[in-house]
Assembly symmetry: C2
Homo-oligomer: 322 residues x 2
Protein backbone atom coordinates (compact mmCIF):
# COMPACT_ATOMS: atom_id res chain seq x y z
CA UNK A 1 0.00 0.00 0.00
CA UNK A 2 1.28 3.42 -0.97
CA UNK A 3 1.38 6.02 1.81
CA UNK A 4 1.14 9.63 0.71
CA UNK A 5 1.32 12.81 2.76
CA UNK A 6 -0.26 15.90 1.22
CA UNK A 7 0.50 19.23 2.86
CA UNK A 8 -1.84 22.17 2.34
CA UNK A 9 -4.56 19.61 1.78
CA UNK A 10 -7.45 21.95 2.66
CA UNK A 11 -6.61 24.28 -0.21
CA UNK A 12 -8.09 24.50 -3.68
CA UNK A 13 -5.71 21.96 -5.25
CA UNK A 14 -5.78 19.49 -2.34
CA UNK A 15 -9.35 18.39 -2.88
CA UNK A 16 -8.78 17.72 -6.59
CA UNK A 17 -5.54 15.90 -5.86
CA UNK A 18 -7.08 13.57 -3.29
CA UNK A 19 -9.92 12.67 -5.62
CA UNK A 20 -7.49 11.98 -8.45
CA UNK A 21 -5.23 9.80 -6.31
CA UNK A 22 -8.18 7.83 -4.91
CA UNK A 23 -9.22 7.06 -8.50
CA UNK A 24 -5.75 6.13 -9.73
CA UNK A 25 -4.42 4.32 -6.67
CA UNK A 26 -7.19 2.42 -4.87
CA UNK A 27 -4.74 0.82 -2.39
CA UNK A 28 -3.51 4.02 -0.80
CA UNK A 29 -3.30 5.68 2.58
CA UNK A 30 -3.34 9.48 2.52
CA UNK A 31 -2.47 11.78 5.40
CA UNK A 32 -3.51 15.34 4.69
CA UNK A 33 -1.93 18.17 6.70
CA UNK A 34 -3.07 21.76 6.78
CA UNK A 35 -3.05 24.82 9.02
CA UNK A 36 -6.84 24.95 8.71
CA UNK A 37 -9.38 22.22 9.28
CA UNK A 38 -10.22 19.89 6.39
CA UNK A 39 -13.17 21.01 4.28
CA UNK A 40 -14.37 17.59 3.12
CA UNK A 41 -14.48 13.97 4.23
CA UNK A 42 -13.14 11.26 1.93
CA UNK A 43 -13.62 7.94 3.72
CA UNK A 44 -11.25 5.57 5.48
CA UNK A 45 -8.27 5.95 3.12
CA UNK A 46 -7.79 9.62 3.98
CA UNK A 47 -6.97 11.09 7.38
CA UNK A 48 -6.51 14.82 7.87
CA UNK A 49 -4.68 16.60 10.68
CA UNK A 50 -4.62 20.30 11.46
CA UNK A 51 -1.00 21.32 12.02
CA UNK A 52 1.17 24.39 11.54
CA UNK A 53 4.12 23.21 9.45
CA UNK A 54 6.25 25.74 11.33
CA UNK A 55 5.62 23.55 14.41
CA UNK A 56 8.48 21.20 13.80
CA UNK A 57 7.91 18.79 16.70
CA UNK A 58 4.29 18.12 15.87
CA UNK A 59 4.94 17.77 12.13
CA UNK A 60 7.89 15.50 12.80
CA UNK A 61 5.74 13.30 15.02
CA UNK A 62 3.09 12.92 12.34
CA UNK A 63 5.63 12.01 9.65
CA UNK A 64 7.43 9.61 11.97
CA UNK A 65 4.17 7.77 12.56
CA UNK A 66 3.13 7.38 8.93
CA UNK A 67 6.56 6.99 7.26
CA UNK A 68 5.26 8.08 3.87
CA UNK A 69 6.45 6.84 0.47
CA UNK A 70 5.92 10.33 -0.80
CA UNK A 71 5.09 13.87 0.29
CA UNK A 72 3.24 16.18 -2.07
CA UNK A 73 3.92 19.63 -0.70
CA UNK A 74 1.01 21.81 -1.78
CA UNK A 75 1.11 24.03 1.32
CA UNK A 76 1.81 27.59 0.30
CA UNK A 77 0.89 31.20 0.75
CA UNK A 78 0.25 31.27 -2.96
CA UNK A 79 -1.07 34.72 -3.82
CA UNK A 80 1.42 37.06 -5.52
CA UNK A 81 -0.80 40.02 -4.66
CA UNK A 82 -0.96 39.09 -0.96
CA UNK A 83 2.82 38.61 -0.88
CA UNK A 84 3.19 42.34 -1.59
CA UNK A 85 0.86 43.12 1.32
CA UNK A 86 2.42 40.67 3.81
CA UNK A 87 5.85 39.57 2.57
CA UNK A 88 6.87 38.16 5.95
CA UNK A 89 3.89 35.85 6.13
CA UNK A 90 4.38 34.86 2.50
CA UNK A 91 8.00 33.99 3.12
CA UNK A 92 7.32 31.95 6.27
CA UNK A 93 4.50 30.03 4.63
CA UNK A 94 6.48 29.24 1.51
CA UNK A 95 10.18 28.91 2.23
CA UNK A 96 10.31 28.38 5.99
CA UNK A 97 7.64 25.67 6.07
CA UNK A 98 9.34 23.85 3.21
CA UNK A 99 12.74 24.03 4.89
CA UNK A 100 11.17 22.61 8.05
CA UNK A 101 9.78 19.73 6.03
CA UNK A 102 13.15 19.02 4.40
CA UNK A 103 14.85 19.03 7.80
CA UNK A 104 12.28 16.63 9.23
CA UNK A 105 12.61 14.18 6.33
CA UNK A 106 16.39 14.41 6.63
CA UNK A 107 16.39 13.99 10.41
CA UNK A 108 14.04 10.99 10.28
CA UNK A 109 15.98 9.55 7.32
CA UNK A 110 12.68 8.89 5.57
CA UNK A 111 13.09 7.16 2.21
CA UNK A 112 10.42 9.13 0.45
CA UNK A 113 10.01 11.24 -2.64
CA UNK A 114 9.13 14.89 -2.07
CA UNK A 115 7.21 16.72 -4.77
CA UNK A 116 8.05 20.39 -4.24
CA UNK A 117 5.50 22.68 -5.87
CA UNK A 118 7.00 25.85 -7.27
CA UNK A 119 5.72 28.58 -9.52
CA UNK A 120 6.06 30.09 -12.97
CA UNK A 121 6.57 33.38 -11.11
CA UNK A 122 10.14 32.22 -10.43
CA UNK A 123 11.12 33.13 -13.99
CA UNK A 124 10.33 36.82 -13.67
CA UNK A 125 10.10 39.23 -16.57
CA UNK A 126 11.70 38.01 -19.80
CA UNK A 127 11.93 39.26 -23.36
CA UNK A 128 9.24 38.09 -25.80
CA UNK A 129 11.94 36.24 -27.74
CA UNK A 130 12.63 34.08 -24.67
CA UNK A 131 9.06 32.78 -24.55
CA UNK A 132 7.87 30.12 -24.02
CA UNK A 133 9.69 29.69 -20.70
CA UNK A 134 11.81 26.55 -20.41
CA UNK A 135 13.23 24.94 -17.30
CA UNK A 136 16.83 25.71 -18.31
CA UNK A 137 16.26 29.47 -18.19
CA UNK A 138 17.61 31.60 -15.36
CA UNK A 139 15.31 32.73 -12.55
CA UNK A 140 14.66 36.39 -11.94
CA UNK A 141 11.86 36.74 -9.35
CA UNK A 142 10.00 40.07 -9.23
CA UNK A 143 7.68 39.64 -6.24
CA UNK A 144 8.19 38.56 -2.61
CA UNK A 145 6.23 35.40 -3.42
CA UNK A 146 8.53 34.58 -6.32
CA UNK A 147 11.66 35.05 -4.20
CA UNK A 148 10.25 32.64 -1.63
CA UNK A 149 9.56 30.07 -4.36
CA UNK A 150 13.04 30.40 -5.86
CA UNK A 151 14.56 29.83 -2.41
CA UNK A 152 12.36 26.75 -2.00
CA UNK A 153 13.56 25.31 -5.31
CA UNK A 154 17.20 26.10 -4.55
CA UNK A 155 16.88 24.41 -1.14
CA UNK A 156 15.42 21.38 -2.92
CA UNK A 157 18.48 21.19 -5.16
CA UNK A 158 20.81 21.49 -2.18
CA UNK A 159 19.11 18.78 -0.13
CA UNK A 160 18.93 16.53 -3.20
CA UNK A 161 22.63 16.93 -3.86
CA UNK A 162 24.04 17.43 -0.35
CA UNK A 163 21.92 14.80 1.43
CA UNK A 164 20.94 12.49 -1.49
CA UNK A 165 17.26 13.16 -0.98
CA UNK A 166 14.67 12.23 -3.63
CA UNK A 167 13.09 15.54 -4.59
CA UNK A 168 11.22 16.51 -7.75
CA UNK A 169 10.28 20.16 -8.31
CA UNK A 170 7.56 21.80 -10.34
CA UNK A 171 7.16 25.29 -11.68
CA UNK A 172 3.39 25.33 -11.81
CA UNK A 173 1.75 28.03 -13.92
CA UNK A 174 -1.51 29.78 -13.00
CA UNK A 175 -4.15 27.26 -11.96
CA UNK A 176 -7.80 27.81 -12.57
CA UNK A 177 -10.91 25.77 -11.85
CA UNK A 178 -14.19 25.57 -9.98
CA UNK A 179 -13.76 26.24 -6.26
CA UNK A 180 -10.69 28.45 -6.45
CA UNK A 181 -10.78 31.36 -3.96
CA UNK A 182 -11.85 34.61 -5.58
CA UNK A 183 -8.64 36.45 -4.69
CA UNK A 184 -7.19 34.82 -7.82
CA UNK A 185 -7.95 36.67 -11.02
CA UNK A 186 -9.92 34.16 -13.09
CA UNK A 187 -12.01 33.08 -10.15
CA UNK A 188 -12.65 36.73 -9.28
CA UNK A 189 -13.82 37.50 -12.82
CA UNK A 190 -15.98 34.37 -12.95
CA UNK A 191 -17.60 35.26 -9.64
CA UNK A 192 -18.29 38.82 -10.74
CA UNK A 193 -19.87 37.63 -14.01
CA UNK A 194 -22.14 35.32 -12.01
CA UNK A 195 -23.02 38.14 -9.60
CA UNK A 196 -23.79 40.50 -12.49
CA UNK A 197 -25.90 37.81 -14.18
CA UNK A 198 -27.84 37.44 -10.95
CA UNK A 199 -28.28 41.20 -10.60
CA UNK A 200 -26.13 41.34 -7.47
CA UNK A 201 -23.72 43.88 -9.00
CA UNK A 202 -23.35 45.99 -12.16
CA UNK A 203 -19.68 46.60 -12.86
CA UNK A 204 -16.73 44.27 -13.33
CA UNK A 205 -13.70 45.36 -11.27
CA UNK A 206 -10.36 44.37 -12.75
CA UNK A 207 -6.62 45.06 -12.36
CA UNK A 208 -4.64 45.09 -15.60
CA UNK A 209 -6.39 43.76 -18.73
CA UNK A 210 -3.19 43.56 -20.77
CA UNK A 211 -1.19 41.06 -18.72
CA UNK A 212 -0.83 37.64 -20.29
CA UNK A 213 -0.73 34.38 -18.33
CA UNK A 214 -0.59 30.68 -19.07
CA UNK A 215 -3.70 29.28 -17.36
CA UNK A 216 -4.11 25.58 -16.69
CA UNK A 217 -7.11 23.71 -15.31
CA UNK A 218 -6.54 22.34 -11.81
CA UNK A 219 -7.65 18.89 -12.96
CA UNK A 220 -4.76 18.84 -15.44
CA UNK A 221 -2.45 20.11 -12.69
CA UNK A 222 -3.18 17.30 -10.23
CA UNK A 223 -2.81 14.71 -12.99
CA UNK A 224 0.68 16.10 -13.64
CA UNK A 225 1.56 15.98 -9.92
CA UNK A 226 0.57 12.36 -9.63
CA UNK A 227 2.53 11.39 -12.76
CA UNK A 228 5.62 13.16 -11.41
CA UNK A 229 5.35 11.27 -8.12
CA UNK A 230 5.23 8.00 -10.02
CA UNK A 231 7.55 8.65 -12.96
CA UNK A 232 9.30 12.03 -12.67
CA UNK A 233 13.10 12.01 -12.71
CA UNK A 234 14.74 12.55 -9.34
CA UNK A 235 16.29 15.99 -8.90
CA UNK A 236 14.56 17.47 -11.96
CA UNK A 237 12.39 20.58 -12.29
CA UNK A 238 9.27 20.55 -14.49
CA UNK A 239 7.08 23.27 -15.93
CA UNK A 240 3.39 22.46 -15.59
CA UNK A 241 1.55 24.72 -18.01
CA UNK A 242 -0.82 24.90 -20.94
CA UNK A 243 1.73 26.31 -23.39
CA UNK A 244 -0.60 29.13 -24.46
CA UNK A 245 -0.81 32.74 -23.30
CA UNK A 246 -4.14 34.46 -22.71
CA UNK A 247 -4.64 38.10 -21.75
CA UNK A 248 -7.06 39.10 -19.02
CA UNK A 249 -8.99 40.95 -21.72
CA UNK A 250 -9.42 37.75 -23.74
CA UNK A 251 -10.55 35.91 -20.62
CA UNK A 252 -13.20 38.53 -20.01
CA UNK A 253 -14.41 38.07 -23.59
CA UNK A 254 -14.68 34.33 -23.01
CA UNK A 255 -16.71 34.86 -19.83
CA UNK A 256 -18.95 37.23 -21.85
CA UNK A 257 -19.55 34.53 -24.45
CA UNK A 258 -20.20 31.87 -21.83
CA UNK A 259 -22.55 34.02 -19.75
CA UNK A 260 -24.19 35.96 -22.58
CA UNK A 261 -23.57 39.30 -20.85
CA UNK A 262 -21.08 42.12 -21.51
CA UNK A 263 -20.82 44.20 -18.34
CA UNK A 264 -19.01 47.51 -18.01
CA UNK A 265 -15.49 47.04 -16.63
CA UNK A 266 -13.59 49.37 -14.30
CA UNK A 267 -9.85 49.23 -13.70
CA UNK A 268 -9.14 49.46 -9.96
CA UNK A 269 -5.72 50.54 -8.71
CA UNK A 270 -5.94 48.32 -5.62
CA UNK A 271 -6.03 45.25 -7.88
CA UNK A 272 -2.66 46.18 -9.39
CA UNK A 273 0.77 45.29 -8.03
CA UNK A 274 3.91 47.36 -7.45
CA UNK A 275 5.74 45.37 -10.12
CA UNK A 276 3.69 43.51 -12.72
CA UNK A 277 5.01 40.76 -14.95
CA UNK A 278 3.44 41.48 -18.37
CA UNK A 279 3.66 38.03 -19.95
CA UNK A 280 4.12 34.47 -18.70
CA UNK A 281 3.89 31.55 -21.14
CA UNK A 282 5.56 28.19 -20.56
CA UNK A 283 6.63 25.13 -22.49
CA UNK A 284 5.52 21.69 -21.28
CA UNK A 285 7.88 19.84 -23.60
CA UNK A 286 10.01 18.43 -20.77
CA UNK A 287 7.24 16.93 -18.65
CA UNK A 288 5.65 15.61 -21.85
CA UNK A 289 8.90 13.89 -22.83
CA UNK A 290 9.58 12.50 -19.31
CA UNK A 291 6.16 11.31 -18.14
CA UNK A 292 3.87 11.74 -21.16
CA UNK A 293 1.73 14.48 -19.62
CA UNK A 294 -0.10 17.11 -21.62
CA UNK A 295 -3.09 19.31 -20.83
CA UNK A 296 -6.48 17.80 -21.69
CA UNK A 297 -9.05 20.37 -20.62
CA UNK A 298 -9.61 23.34 -22.93
CA UNK A 299 -9.71 26.87 -21.58
CA UNK A 300 -13.31 27.16 -22.79
CA UNK A 301 -14.32 24.14 -20.68
CA UNK A 302 -12.54 25.57 -17.62
CA UNK A 303 -14.26 28.94 -18.03
CA UNK A 304 -17.66 27.29 -18.41
CA UNK A 305 -17.13 25.19 -15.25
CA UNK A 306 -15.87 28.17 -13.26
CA UNK A 307 -18.80 30.31 -14.33
CA UNK A 308 -21.29 27.57 -13.46
CA UNK A 309 -19.60 27.02 -10.10
CA UNK A 310 -20.05 30.69 -9.26
CA UNK A 311 -23.59 30.74 -10.60
CA UNK A 312 -24.45 28.02 -8.06
CA UNK A 313 -22.52 29.72 -5.29
CA UNK A 314 -24.08 33.14 -5.93
CA UNK A 315 -27.53 31.58 -6.22
CA UNK A 316 -27.13 30.53 -2.62
CA UNK A 317 -25.92 34.02 -1.69
CA UNK A 318 -28.77 35.61 -3.63
CA UNK A 319 -31.26 33.50 -1.72
CA UNK A 320 -29.79 34.58 1.58
CA UNK A 321 -29.97 38.23 0.61
CA UNK A 322 -33.66 38.10 -0.30
Amino acid sequence: MMKIVITGVSGFVGDYLIKHILTEEPDVQILGLDAVAPRWKYGAAVACRQVDLLDRDRTEGLLRDIKPDCIIHLASFSSVADSWKDPIRSFKNNTNIFLNLLEIVHALQLQCRILSIGSSEEYGIVKDGDLPLRESMSLNPVSPYAVARVAQEQLSAIYAKGFSMDIVCTRSFNHIGPGQPDKFVVSSIGKQFAEIKRGLRETLYIGSTGIIRDFLDVRDVVRAYYLLVKKGARGEVYNICSGRGISIGELIDMFSETSGISPAAEVRAELQRPVENPKIIGSYEKINAHVGWQPEITLRESIKDIYEYWLSATAATGEQQK
Copy 2:
Protein backbone atom coordinates in the same frame (compact mmCIF):
# COMPACT_ATOMS: atom_id res chain seq x y z
CA MET B 1 25.13 64.78 12.11
CA MET B 2 24.92 61.43 10.37
CA LYS B 3 22.96 58.69 12.14
CA ILE B 4 23.97 55.12 11.34
CA VAL B 5 22.47 51.86 12.52
CA ILE B 6 24.74 48.81 12.38
CA THR B 7 23.10 45.41 12.86
CA GLY B 8 25.20 42.46 13.99
CA VAL B 9 27.49 44.98 15.63
CA SER B 10 28.97 42.54 18.16
CA GLY B 11 30.43 40.38 15.41
CA PHE B 12 33.92 40.30 13.96
CA VAL B 13 33.27 42.95 11.31
CA GLY B 14 31.25 45.29 13.56
CA ASP B 15 34.16 46.35 15.72
CA TYR B 16 36.33 47.19 12.71
CA LEU B 17 33.46 49.03 11.04
CA ILE B 18 32.72 51.21 14.07
CA LYS B 19 36.37 52.17 14.45
CA HIS B 20 36.60 53.04 10.77
CA ILE B 21 33.45 55.17 10.81
CA LEU B 22 34.52 57.01 13.97
CA THR B 23 37.77 57.93 12.19
CA GLU B 24 36.14 58.98 8.92
CA GLU B 25 33.01 60.66 10.26
CA PRO B 26 33.67 62.42 13.58
CA ASP B 27 30.17 63.96 13.71
CA VAL B 28 28.24 60.70 13.81
CA GLN B 29 25.76 58.89 15.99
CA ILE B 30 25.90 55.10 15.79
CA LEU B 31 23.30 52.68 17.12
CA GLY B 32 24.61 49.13 17.16
CA LEU B 33 22.13 46.24 17.35
CA ASP B 34 22.96 42.63 18.04
CA ALA B 35 21.43 39.46 19.45
CA VAL B 36 24.35 39.27 21.89
CA ALA B 37 25.72 41.92 24.23
CA PRO B 38 28.30 44.37 22.85
CA ARG B 39 31.89 43.29 23.38
CA TRP B 40 33.49 46.72 23.57
CA LYS B 41 32.74 50.29 24.60
CA TYR B 42 33.34 53.14 22.16
CA GLY B 43 32.37 56.38 23.91
CA ALA B 44 29.38 58.70 23.64
CA ALA B 45 28.92 58.49 19.84
CA VAL B 46 28.06 54.80 19.95
CA ALA B 47 25.11 53.19 21.73
CA CYS B 48 24.50 49.46 21.57
CA ARG B 49 21.28 47.56 22.19
CA GLN B 50 20.75 43.85 22.54
CA VAL B 51 17.80 42.86 20.34
CA ASP B 52 16.64 39.88 18.32
CA LEU B 53 15.97 41.20 14.81
CA LEU B 54 13.18 38.62 14.54
CA ASP B 55 11.43 40.65 17.28
CA ARG B 56 9.78 43.08 14.95
CA ASP B 57 8.10 45.34 17.52
CA ARG B 58 11.25 45.98 19.52
CA THR B 59 13.42 46.50 16.42
CA GLU B 60 10.80 48.82 14.92
CA GLY B 61 10.72 50.87 18.12
CA LEU B 62 14.50 51.32 18.09
CA LEU B 63 14.55 52.39 14.43
CA ARG B 64 11.59 54.72 14.95
CA ASP B 65 13.47 56.47 17.73
CA ILE B 66 16.75 57.02 15.91
CA LYS B 67 15.47 57.56 12.32
CA PRO B 68 18.80 56.60 10.78
CA ASP B 69 20.31 58.02 7.59
CA CYS B 70 21.64 54.59 6.89
CA ILE B 71 21.54 50.98 8.07
CA ILE B 72 24.54 48.76 7.57
CA HIS B 73 23.16 45.26 7.90
CA LEU B 74 26.04 43.07 9.07
CA ALA B 75 23.84 40.71 11.11
CA SER B 76 24.12 37.22 9.71
CA PHE B 77 24.53 33.56 10.50
CA SER B 78 27.58 33.67 8.31
CA SER B 79 29.18 30.24 8.44
CA VAL B 80 28.65 28.04 5.39
CA ALA B 81 29.68 24.98 7.41
CA ASP B 82 27.18 25.74 10.20
CA SER B 83 24.43 26.28 7.63
CA TRP B 84 24.74 22.59 6.69
CA LYS B 85 24.37 21.65 10.37
CA ASP B 86 21.49 24.00 11.15
CA PRO B 87 19.88 25.23 7.92
CA ILE B 88 16.75 26.49 9.66
CA ARG B 89 18.71 28.74 12.00
CA SER B 90 20.87 29.91 9.11
CA PHE B 91 17.82 30.81 7.06
CA LYS B 92 16.08 32.68 9.87
CA ASN B 93 19.20 34.63 10.77
CA ASN B 94 19.96 35.61 7.21
CA THR B 95 16.81 35.96 5.14
CA ASN B 96 14.08 36.32 7.74
CA ILE B 97 15.88 38.97 9.82
CA PHE B 98 16.63 40.95 6.68
CA LEU B 99 13.04 40.78 5.47
CA ASN B 100 11.91 42.01 8.90
CA LEU B 101 14.27 44.94 8.58
CA LEU B 102 12.99 45.80 5.09
CA GLU B 103 9.41 45.66 6.31
CA ILE B 104 10.20 47.94 9.25
CA VAL B 105 11.95 50.54 7.08
CA HIS B 106 9.06 50.37 4.62
CA ALA B 107 6.37 50.62 7.33
CA LEU B 108 8.10 53.56 9.04
CA GLN B 109 8.76 55.20 5.64
CA LEU B 110 12.33 55.87 6.75
CA GLN B 111 14.36 57.78 4.17
CA CYS B 112 17.54 55.83 4.69
CA ARG B 113 20.03 53.85 2.67
CA ILE B 114 20.32 50.16 3.51
CA LEU B 115 23.62 48.42 2.85
CA SER B 116 22.72 44.75 2.45
CA ILE B 117 25.73 42.50 2.96
CA GLY B 118 25.70 39.42 0.75
CA SER B 119 28.24 36.77 -0.07
CA SER B 120 30.45 35.43 -2.84
CA GLU B 121 28.84 32.06 -2.03
CA GLU B 122 25.80 33.27 -3.98
CA TYR B 123 27.60 32.55 -7.25
CA GLY B 124 28.00 28.83 -6.66
CA ILE B 125 30.25 26.56 -8.68
CA VAL B 126 31.35 27.97 -12.03
CA LYS B 127 33.71 26.89 -14.80
CA ASP B 128 37.32 28.15 -14.59
CA GLY B 129 36.72 30.13 -17.78
CA ASP B 130 34.02 32.15 -15.96
CA LEU B 131 36.45 33.39 -13.30
CA PRO B 132 36.88 35.99 -11.97
CA LEU B 133 33.26 36.29 -10.86
CA ARG B 134 31.49 39.45 -11.98
CA GLU B 135 28.26 40.95 -10.69
CA SER B 136 26.43 40.31 -13.97
CA MET B 137 26.81 36.52 -13.67
CA SER B 138 23.92 34.29 -12.71
CA LEU B 139 23.61 32.97 -9.16
CA ASN B 140 23.69 29.27 -8.44
CA PRO B 141 23.89 28.73 -4.65
CA VAL B 142 25.20 25.36 -3.43
CA SER B 143 24.75 25.61 0.37
CA PRO B 144 21.82 26.52 2.64
CA TYR B 145 23.74 29.68 3.59
CA ALA B 146 24.11 30.67 -0.05
CA VAL B 147 20.39 30.17 -0.75
CA ALA B 148 19.55 32.44 2.17
CA ARG B 149 21.90 35.11 0.83
CA VAL B 150 20.48 34.93 -2.69
CA ALA B 151 16.98 35.36 -1.27
CA GLN B 152 18.19 38.38 0.71
CA GLU B 153 19.63 40.00 -2.41
CA GLN B 154 16.51 39.24 -4.47
CA LEU B 155 14.33 40.76 -1.74
CA SER B 156 16.55 43.85 -1.83
CA ALA B 157 15.94 44.20 -5.56
CA ILE B 158 12.19 43.79 -5.09
CA TYR B 159 11.92 46.38 -2.31
CA ALA B 160 14.15 48.78 -4.24
CA LYS B 161 11.98 48.49 -7.34
CA GLY B 162 8.54 47.85 -5.85
CA PHE B 163 8.76 50.35 -2.97
CA SER B 164 11.44 52.78 -4.25
CA MET B 165 13.73 52.01 -1.33
CA ASP B 166 17.41 53.00 -1.36
CA ILE B 167 19.28 49.71 -1.09
CA VAL B 168 22.85 48.87 -2.08
CA CYS B 169 23.98 45.22 -2.00
CA THR B 170 27.37 43.62 -1.62
CA ARG B 171 28.67 40.20 -2.46
CA SER B 172 31.45 40.07 0.08
CA PHE B 173 34.13 37.45 -0.40
CA ASN B 174 35.86 35.59 2.47
CA HIS B 175 36.95 38.00 5.17
CA ILE B 176 40.01 37.41 7.29
CA GLY B 177 41.67 39.35 10.07
CA PRO B 178 42.69 39.38 13.72
CA GLY B 179 39.80 38.57 16.04
CA GLN B 180 37.77 36.44 13.63
CA PRO B 181 36.14 33.41 15.32
CA ASP B 182 38.10 30.21 14.77
CA LYS B 183 35.23 28.41 13.05
CA PHE B 184 36.37 30.21 9.88
CA VAL B 185 39.18 28.49 8.06
CA VAL B 186 41.98 31.08 8.08
CA SER B 187 41.39 31.95 11.69
CA SER B 188 41.32 28.27 12.59
CA ILE B 189 44.63 27.64 10.84
CA GLY B 190 46.20 30.72 12.43
CA LYS B 191 45.06 29.63 15.87
CA GLN B 192 46.36 26.10 15.40
CA PHE B 193 49.76 27.42 14.25
CA ALA B 194 49.95 29.57 17.38
CA GLU B 195 48.94 26.63 19.57
CA ILE B 196 51.54 24.39 17.92
CA LYS B 197 54.18 27.11 18.34
CA ARG B 198 53.30 27.30 22.03
CA GLY B 199 53.43 23.53 22.40
CA LEU B 200 49.70 23.28 23.13
CA ARG B 201 49.08 20.86 20.22
CA GLU B 202 51.06 18.95 17.60
CA THR B 203 48.94 18.43 14.50
CA LEU B 204 47.14 20.84 12.21
CA TYR B 205 43.55 19.72 11.48
CA ILE B 206 42.21 20.83 8.14
CA GLY B 207 39.30 20.21 5.74
CA SER B 208 40.17 20.36 2.07
CA THR B 209 43.60 21.82 1.14
CA GLY B 210 42.75 22.18 -2.55
CA ILE B 211 39.84 24.61 -2.38
CA ILE B 212 40.61 28.11 -3.59
CA ARG B 213 39.12 31.26 -2.11
CA ASP B 214 39.47 35.01 -2.55
CA PHE B 215 40.47 36.27 0.91
CA LEU B 216 40.21 39.91 1.86
CA ASP B 217 41.35 41.66 5.03
CA VAL B 218 38.46 42.87 7.20
CA ARG B 219 40.01 46.36 7.32
CA ASP B 220 39.68 46.59 3.54
CA VAL B 221 36.14 45.22 3.80
CA VAL B 222 34.88 47.90 6.21
CA ARG B 223 36.49 50.63 4.11
CA ALA B 224 34.48 49.35 1.13
CA TYR B 225 31.24 49.29 3.17
CA TYR B 226 31.67 52.88 4.26
CA LEU B 227 32.45 54.04 0.70
CA LEU B 228 29.34 52.26 -0.58
CA VAL B 229 27.20 53.98 2.04
CA LYS B 230 28.55 57.35 0.93
CA LYS B 231 28.97 56.88 -2.81
CA GLY B 232 27.57 53.54 -4.01
CA ALA B 233 24.89 53.63 -6.70
CA ARG B 234 21.37 52.96 -5.48
CA GLY B 235 20.03 49.54 -6.42
CA GLU B 236 23.43 48.18 -7.46
CA VAL B 237 25.27 45.04 -6.33
CA TYR B 238 29.03 45.12 -5.70
CA ASN B 239 31.66 42.42 -5.33
CA ILE B 240 34.04 43.13 -2.47
CA CYS B 241 37.08 40.96 -3.00
CA SER B 242 40.85 40.87 -3.44
CA GLY B 243 40.75 39.65 -7.04
CA ARG B 244 43.20 36.81 -6.30
CA GLY B 245 42.62 33.15 -5.51
CA ILE B 246 44.62 31.33 -2.83
CA SER B 247 44.37 27.64 -1.98
CA ILE B 248 44.19 26.46 1.62
CA GLY B 249 47.51 24.69 0.96
CA GLU B 250 49.16 27.99 -0.01
CA LEU B 251 47.73 29.65 3.08
CA ILE B 252 49.25 26.94 5.26
CA ASP B 253 52.62 27.55 3.58
CA MET B 254 52.34 31.27 4.38
CA PHE B 255 51.56 30.53 8.01
CA SER B 256 54.60 28.22 8.04
CA GLU B 257 56.82 31.02 6.74
CA THR B 258 55.39 33.53 9.21
CA SER B 259 55.64 31.23 12.22
CA GLY B 260 58.83 29.39 11.26
CA ILE B 261 57.21 26.00 11.90
CA SER B 262 55.96 23.28 9.55
CA PRO B 263 53.58 21.06 11.51
CA ALA B 264 52.12 17.76 10.31
CA ALA B 265 48.63 18.25 8.85
CA GLU B 266 45.69 15.85 9.07
CA VAL B 267 42.59 16.04 6.88
CA ARG B 268 39.48 15.65 9.02
CA ALA B 269 36.18 14.57 7.47
CA GLU B 270 34.13 16.65 9.93
CA LEU B 271 35.73 19.80 8.53
CA GLN B 272 34.41 19.04 5.04
CA ARG B 273 31.00 19.93 3.66
CA PRO B 274 28.40 17.91 1.77
CA VAL B 275 28.94 20.05 -1.32
CA GLU B 276 32.19 22.01 -1.63
CA ASN B 277 32.76 24.88 -4.03
CA PRO B 278 36.29 24.28 -5.41
CA LYS B 279 37.18 27.80 -6.52
CA ILE B 280 35.93 31.30 -5.77
CA ILE B 281 37.73 34.33 -7.20
CA GLY B 282 36.09 37.70 -7.79
CA SER B 283 36.61 40.87 -9.78
CA TYR B 284 36.49 44.22 -7.97
CA GLU B 285 36.40 46.24 -11.18
CA LYS B 286 32.86 47.55 -10.60
CA ILE B 287 33.33 48.89 -7.07
CA ASN B 288 36.66 50.34 -8.15
CA ALA B 289 35.00 52.16 -11.05
CA HIS B 290 32.03 53.39 -8.97
CA VAL B 291 33.64 54.47 -5.67
CA GLY B 292 37.38 54.14 -6.23
CA TRP B 293 37.89 51.28 -3.78
CA GLN B 294 40.66 48.70 -4.06
CA PRO B 295 42.28 46.42 -1.49
CA GLU B 296 45.26 47.88 0.34
CA ILE B 297 46.38 45.21 2.78
CA THR B 298 48.46 42.34 1.40
CA LEU B 299 47.66 38.75 2.26
CA ARG B 300 51.07 38.45 3.92
CA GLU B 301 50.25 41.34 6.27
CA SER B 302 46.87 39.80 7.12
CA ILE B 303 48.45 36.42 7.86
CA LYS B 304 51.09 38.01 10.08
CA ASP B 305 48.48 39.97 12.05
CA ILE B 306 46.23 36.93 12.42
CA TYR B 307 49.11 34.77 13.62
CA GLU B 308 50.23 37.41 16.13
CA TYR B 309 46.66 37.83 17.36
CA TRP B 310 46.43 34.10 18.08
CA LEU B 311 49.91 34.05 19.63
CA SER B 312 48.68 36.62 22.19
CA ALA B 313 45.39 34.83 22.68
CA THR B 314 46.99 31.42 23.15
CA ALA B 315 49.61 32.93 25.49
CA ALA B 316 46.75 33.83 27.80
CA THR B 317 45.30 30.32 27.44
CA GLY B 318 48.73 28.78 28.01
CA GLU B 319 49.13 30.78 31.21
CA GLN B 320 45.77 29.61 32.50
CA GLN B 321 46.62 26.01 31.79
CA LYS B 322 49.86 26.16 33.80
